[in-house]
């Protein structure tokens, strides 16, 4: 089969045409398929964590906990919110350079960095929450069993999150390597 034949098929390939109104809708982030989900998740998390940050001291007897533990909880909550905001803006901008090579390389570095921040902050957030709410408790077998279950759940969530990030990073890394390679080997 000739390459001109392939070119002709490509250039004349059928296309589903969109109306101007449909295209206009697509320019709005509210109608964006994945950013809409990420935005909703970030908004819910940010609002609920900010709310929690304001009420936890009164509602969960913050005055009975040591100062360092209250500070630690407030710091990790703020870090989680900031990471959400930072992550949203980073993910929503995959175009990072004037050509594909530069853009994919920069995006790869940023996504890799974001994955490290997100995994670390999520794990620390879970750990601090567990520590905060279990500090001062007198543990019996039942409570220890529940605590073990929560810790295992946190570890599993961290592992699955790691796998998801890793899959994305790997696919970007493969592309970066293909751009760097000289094409001979």
């Amino acid at each position: 089969m000739e390459i001109n034949n392939i070119k002709s098929i490509w250039q004349n390939a059928s296309a589903n045409s969109k109306s101007e109104l449909e295209l206009k809708r697509m320019t709005n982030v509210i109608n964006h398929p994945s950013l809409k989900k990420i935005r909703t998740k970030f908004l819910i998390e940010t609002i609920s964590l900010t709310f929690f940050l304001f009420i936890y001291y009164d509602w969960f007897e913050g005055n009975t906990k040591p100062f360092y533990l209250n500070s630690l909880l407030a710091t990790i909550l703020l870090a989680y919110i900031l990471n959400d905001v930072f992550g949203y803006f980073l993910i929503s901008r995959p175009i990072r350079g004037e050509n594909l090579k530069i853009s994919i390389e920069k995006y790869y570095v940023r996504i890799k960095r974001l994955s490290v921040y997100s995994l670390s902050i999520s794990f620390l957030y879970g750990t601090v929450m567990i520590y905060y709410f279990s500090s001062g408790l007198i543990f019996n077998n039942k409570k220890l069993f529940i605590l073990a279950g929560i810790v295992i759940f946190l570890l599993l969530m961290t592992y699955f999150s790691y796998r998801t990030w890793n899959r994305w990073i790997k696919s970007l890394k493969i592309q970066v390597n293909e751009f760097i390679s000289d094409g001979i080997n």
Partner: protein
């Protein structure tokens, strides 16, 4: 961004939407994923439109943003079981139904290429010259030539 700019943008996309559609078909298998990618690309084109100052061809700009978006954005993992052995034997020369069959065969063949290879070959098939492909991809012209030659051979082997 003002109304005038929005109108210009929408006209530009309306005139060139076949490019976006082809890239979506090339990079995503299911209709639903293609539709999602289409929206992502239009959104990214809109975001980058103010920085597009007609310095390059409109088609170069659309290809660059569309390919970049297709390659970079996160994809849900899916278990896809497909068999490719039953490709039609030949590419037929003409006829509406036959063209559709040829198209299917070509887009199925693209699934054997990496994301990087898809980007290079799509630009080549659209008739961009080596210099233009090098500018869009960031490769050198020599490297572009080597890559195109290898991908063409690979594609020919797949299609038979």
């Amino acid at each position: 961004m003002n109304d005038k700019m929005e109108k210009e943008f929408l006209k530009t996309i309306l005139d060139n939407q076949s490019i976006i559609y082809k890239i979506c078909r090339m990079y995503r298998d299911s209709k639903e994923d293609q539709e999602d990618l289409y929206q992502e690309i239009v959104y990214q084109l809109w975001k980058s439109y103010p920085s597009f100052k007609n310095e390059s061809k409109v088609s170069s700009w659309i290809y660059r943003i569309a390919l970049n978006t297709s390659m970079a954005v996160y994809r849900k993992s899916k278990l896809i079981i497909e068999y490719y052995e039953d490709f039609p034997e030949h590419i037929h020369p003409s006829g509406e139904e036959i063209v559709s069959e040829n198209e299917e065969r070509l887009f199925s063949a693209f699934r054997f290429l990496s994301d990087f290879e898809k980007a290079i070959i799509s630009l080549y098939l659209e008739d961009f010259n080596y210099q233009e492909i090098a500018e869009i991809t960031g490769l050198t012209e020599n490297n572009t030539g080597v890559r195109i030659s290898r991908i063409k051979n690979k594609l020919k082997k797949i299609l038979g």
